[in-house]
Structures are given as C-alpha cells and as structure tokens.
C-alpha cells in the first residue's frame, strides 16, 4: 500500500513538473500557481490549527511579512534566493515575538487575538507603505511564468513532505497530544508550550515562504494586500472543507476551493460569491469533518455492507 502511494505521489509530481512544457495558456498556469500557493497556505495553517489544535485567524500576517521582506529586498537588487529566505525568516521572527503572549490565550480567545494581530499588521503596513509595488521595467521585460511555477511547485512539495514527516514524528505526535488534551499531554511529559511554539514557527515559516514566492510572482500589488484578513479566512476555509489534521485534507480543500471559485466566477458572474457562500455553508452543515471524513464514512459503509453480504453468503451456503 505504502509503495503504491509513493508511486502515485511520484507520478503526480512528475506530471506537475512537465505541465509548463505542455500548457500554452498563461491563464491555466496562473490558476495552477494559485492552487499551489493555497496548498502551501492550507498545509502550513494545518500544522498549527489541525495538528496542534490552535485555530489561528491571523495566518495572513505570516504570508504578508514573507511577501514584504522578499519584495523590498529583491526589488532593491538583492539576489533572489536570500531574498526569498529572508521572507520566511521575518515570518519566523514575528512568530517568536508573538508566540509567548499569544499562547496565553486559549480556544476562541486565541482565534480572536490572532485576528487582531493580523489586523494590526494589515493597517500598519498600509500606513507605512501606502503605494503600489510594481516590478521594475527591467524585471518586467524578462518576466517568465515558468520559473515562478516551479518555485511554487518546489515549495508545495517541501511543505507537504514536511507536514507528512512531522505527522509521523515524535514532535508531531506531541502536537496532536496537545490538541486532544493539553493537561493530559503535560501530565505525560509533553511540554505543551514548546510544542505549540514549534508548530507556530513551522507554520509561520512555510506561510512566509508562500508570501516570498508571491512577491516574486506577482507583478504589481499594494504592499498591504497580502496582509488582508481574507487570506486567513480563505486558508482556514480550505482546511475545514478538506479535513483538518490530515495531510491530504488541506490539499483537496485548496484544489476544490480554487477551482470552484474559478468555475463560479466564469459561470455565474456577479453572483459567484453568493453561490460560493451557500455551498460553503452546506459543506459546513452537512460534511462537518470535511471531505476526508465524508470519504471515510462512505468507505466504512461500503466495507461494512460488503462484509455483511459475505457473511450472509457464507451462512446460506
């Protein structure tokens, strides 16, 4: 089974790597970039929210900081790779600064507190950098989509791979113990604060890198834009739709979310957000554990039915 899964992952990765060679239309590639971006965002949020159980509404802050650092450095003429890493680095620094006070808050207070933190950065960055950031003419002339796509692809593979390794590691299990019951975890010798802080740092770094890649990818945007609360809400939504605390959930959620929104934009125009909102509420109400849980329920049902039939068959024989 594990070997088949590995093979499947390899095939998907190779297919994704070959896509820019086949696809001619930029719009398709842009859509893929968006999906990859949100897979990174959702998977990184999932480390903090899904594995460790700390629902953050301020994920946009890390994304924004990553994009801000990278954009400022890179446009100034810094080499690309250090600029990208600086983005992830700045997000980690911020995570370390806010980590200790933020984790004094529990449950819904943590959620509202992180929302406020994100909003503080959103407004402050808007005040400090009120202008649009556009790529210099030189960079525009040589702009190519394919390298951007590959950057996102590599980051996505690293993020998902890291999440997978983490979930099966001692630290990851500690995080899940903290999620299930903080006091019980502490009693068993799991340092809850350290695990939460680690989850925050991992989550922040990966989201920061997504922001860095965004700064490298996007031609022109307001510096404030990646800090907007909608990035946090969209990310959280994808994870919930897919199934939080799993590896595949955030991936499925991100793909579904981006494609559905794209489909609705093209087909119902100005009503797309209304339809989207309705569908979204339906998913929350009727598939509370997301697609992953729904899939498991269906599979269990099928397995049970099959075993029942087998039993019936054997008794009648």
């Amino acid at each position: 089974m594990a070997r088949i899964q590995l093979l499947l992952v390899a095939v998907v990765v190779i297919l994704l790597a070959c896509l820019p060679l086949v696809i001619e239309k930029d719009s398709t590639l842009n859509l893929l970039v968006l999906i990859l971006l949100f897979i990174i965002m959702a998977s990184s949020w999932n480390i903090l929210g899904g594995f460790t159980g700390q629902t953050s509404l301020g994920h946009a802050a890390f994304f924004g900081l990553g994009s801000l650092a990278t954009r400022l450095l890179w446009i100034q003429g810094f080499p690309l790779l250090p600029s990208l890493l600086a983005g992830g680095g700045l997000a980690v620094v911020f995570a370390l600064v806010i980590g200790i006070p933020a984790f004094k808050l529990k449950g819904v207070y943590f959620a509202i507190g992180t929302l406020a933190l994100g909003q503080i950065l959103f407004v402050t960055v808007g005040n400090l950098f009120p202008t649009i950031s556009a790529l210099p003419v030189e960079a525009l002339r040589t702009y190519q989509l394919a390298p951007r796509y590959y950057l996102f692809l590599v980051l996505t593979i690293l993020t998902v791979g890291f999440a997978y390794l983490l979930a099966n590691s001692r630290v990851g299990l500690g995080m899940m113990a903290v999620r299930e019951d903080e006091d019980a975890a502490e009693a068993l010798g799991v340092n809850a604060r350290r695990h939460k802080l680690l989850a925050l740092v991992f989550s922040a770094f990966l989201a920061g890198m997504a922001g860095s890649a965004f700064a490298y990818y996007h031609v022109s945007y307001y510096y404030q834009f990646p800090f907007a609360p909608i990035w946090s809400f969209d990310t959280l939504t994808m994870v919930y739709i897919g199934g939080q605390g799993t590896i595949i959930g955030p991936i499925v959620g991100a793909i579904f979310f981006v494609l559905l929104r794209e489909f609705l934009v093209l087909n119902v125009g100005e009503y797309h957000l209304i339809v989207f909102g309705v569908l979204f509420i339906l998913v929350v109400l009727f598939l509370p554990g997301g697609f992953v849980e729904a899939w498991e329920k269906i599979r269990n049902l099928l397995v049970r039915r099959r075993s029942k039939r087998d039993r019936n068959a054997s008794t009648t024989a």
Binding site: T55, P101, K104, L105, G107, V108, Y109, A111, I112, G113, L115, A116, L117, Q119, I120, V123, T124, N127, P229, F233, T237, Y240, E270, Y271, L273, I274, F276, G277, V278, F280, I281, V284, L285, P288
Partner: protein
C-alpha cells in the same frame, strides 16, 4: 489644546456608546448560545439599510422607525437561526464555536453580495433636518444626532438589563447561561431560550445599524469593520457583563479618539487593537467581567 482634547474625548465617548451597542448583540448571542456569529456586522449593515430605506421611501425618521427596524431585523435573525444556526445547537462547545464561525463567514459573503447587487456599493447615509445641529455646553460641542445615539444605546442597555433581571424569560436566559443542563432539568425550554437570544441579538444589531446610518454612513462591505469592533469590545468588557460591554465600548471609542488626536488618524485602529490584546493577555475575563470559575 486641552479644550480640543476634551472635545475629542467627548466625541470618542459618544462613538464608543455605539461600539458598545454593536457589541451588545454579539455578546448576548455568544454568551447565551455560544454561537459566535461573525456575520454580526452584516446584520448591522442590514439594519442600517432597513433604516435608510424607511427614511428614503416612507419618510420615517430613523429614531422613530427604530422599533420597526428592530422588528425587521428580528425576523431576519429568526430566519437565519431557523435555517442555519439551529443545526449547530447540539454540538459540543468548541465545535459549535468553530462551526458557527464558519457559517458566519459564509453568511458574510452572501449578505454582503446581496446588498451589493441590490443597493450598489455607494456610501449612503441618512441626513435629517436636525443632522447638522449642535448644542454647546462649556464650550464643548455636542452634535444632536450623536447624543441621541448615545441615549438610545443607553436605553437599550438598561432595557436589556431589566429584561434579564426582572422578567421570567430573562431569568430563564440567565439560568441557561449558568448551567444549561440544570436549566433544562428545571423545565426551561433551552431551544426557545437560544432562539430568543439570537433574535434579540439581531434586533440589537438593527438598532446599531440604524444609528450607524444616521451618524456615519453605510455600505455593503462595512460588516467586517463592525464585527471586529464588536468582538474587541465584547472581550474588553468581559463576557456576560452588560455594563462591562458598554464600558468597553466607551473605552475603545475614547482611546481611538485620543490616538487620532495625539498620534494621527491612521493609527487609531492599531492602538485600539493593541489595547485589546493587552487586556486579552493580562485580564482575559475582561475589564469588568467576573473571574471564571
């Protein structure tokens, strides 16, 4: 300088009463039902439009039409509750908060865009004959509309307080907050208490919306801003404390105004949020809230 500062603070307090009112509905709903309705700001928006259209089409003064606005929003609240939120009532608390937050997020999208399509993105406001009028006490100016808004907020607060303290239904609501299982065993219909609280919260959002449309302006995307304000004030004041909520609102309003005066208008929101985070970290039960358990 000092006179100007006092003037600014007075303005802040008058606005703060409105923040308190916006938070009152949210806090009432969250306190009783543990439904965290982040579409509360959208309800305020709808209340604002209800009041606006009553003024524009029927010519009703926004203060006189308040009961009607409340009624309209109560119906909206009832529909939303029966259609959506009632399905989350039986979930365990953490899950309920999470799920209602998500439903609220979906609602935000829906209501915002319906408003956008029906009424366009234009800023609207109610301008009455007395809108610009001001009276002066000790050289401090008091705009009539804002003072009236303050009075309405105060009346709502006192009525809610009396309702919860004196009436049988109010006592049932408080009993449910204390211990819903015990309340249910005493023969209180929990389902009805939840529904009533939600409807009441929506009606209060209606009042807040009407006041916003007459003191500021309304547009379809205003909801997020007001939800955030309401959340901050709710936590500042302490859950379940009506007086605390009001005090939290006034504190936030005054702080924002002082910031705008001393540092600059761009940072009024930032300082308000910082204040909120500090209170959250050092006094999580809120300024006037009782310590939990």
């Amino acid at each position: 300088m000092t006179e100007a500062f006092v003037q600014i603070i007075i303005f802040g307090i008058l606005i703060g009463a409105l923040y308190g009112l916006a938070a009152l509905g949210l806090s009432m709903v969250f306190g009783v039902t543990k439904i965290l309705n982040i579409a509360h700001g959208e309800l305020i928006m709808l209340g604002g439009y209800a009041s606006f259209w009553l003024f524009r089409l029927v010519g009703l003064d926004p203060f006189i039409s308040l009961p009607l606005t409340m009624l309209i929003m109560a119906v909206v609240g009832l529909v939303l509750y029966k259609l959506l939120f009632v399905r989350t009532v039986k979930l365990p608390e953490e899950e309920k908060i999470k799920n209602t937050m998500l439903i609220g997020f979906g609602l935000t999208l829906i209501l915002q865009n319906i408003a956008l399509i029906l009424w366009t993105a234009d800023d609207r406001g109610i301008t009455t004959a007395y809108s610009g009028q001001v009276f002066t006490v000790l050289n401090i100016r008091f705009p009539i509309v804002r003072v009236a808004g303050f009075a309405v907020a105060l009346i709502c607060l006192l009525s809610l307080h009396l309702f919860l303290r004196k009436t049988y239904t109010g006592k049932a609501i408080r009993a449910t907050v204390e211990d819903w299982e015990a309340a249910a065993l005493m023969g209180i219909n929990i389902q009805q208490v939840y529904m009533l609280s939600f409807v009441l919260g929506a009606a209060l959002a209606g009042v807040a919306g009407a006041l916003v449309s007459v003191t500021f302006s309304i547009d379809p995307s205003m909801g997020m801003h007001w939800t955030l304000k309401a959340l901050i004030v709710m936590v500042l004041g302490g859950l379940g404390s009506i007086a605390g909520t009001f005090a939290g609102g006034i504190l936030l309003g005054a702080t924002e105004s002082a910031t705008a005066f001393l540092i600059g208008g761009n940072y009024r929101e930032v300082i308000g949020l910082l204040l909120f985070l500090l209170v959250l970290i050092f006094r999580p039960q809120g300024l006037l809230g009782a310590k939990e358990r």
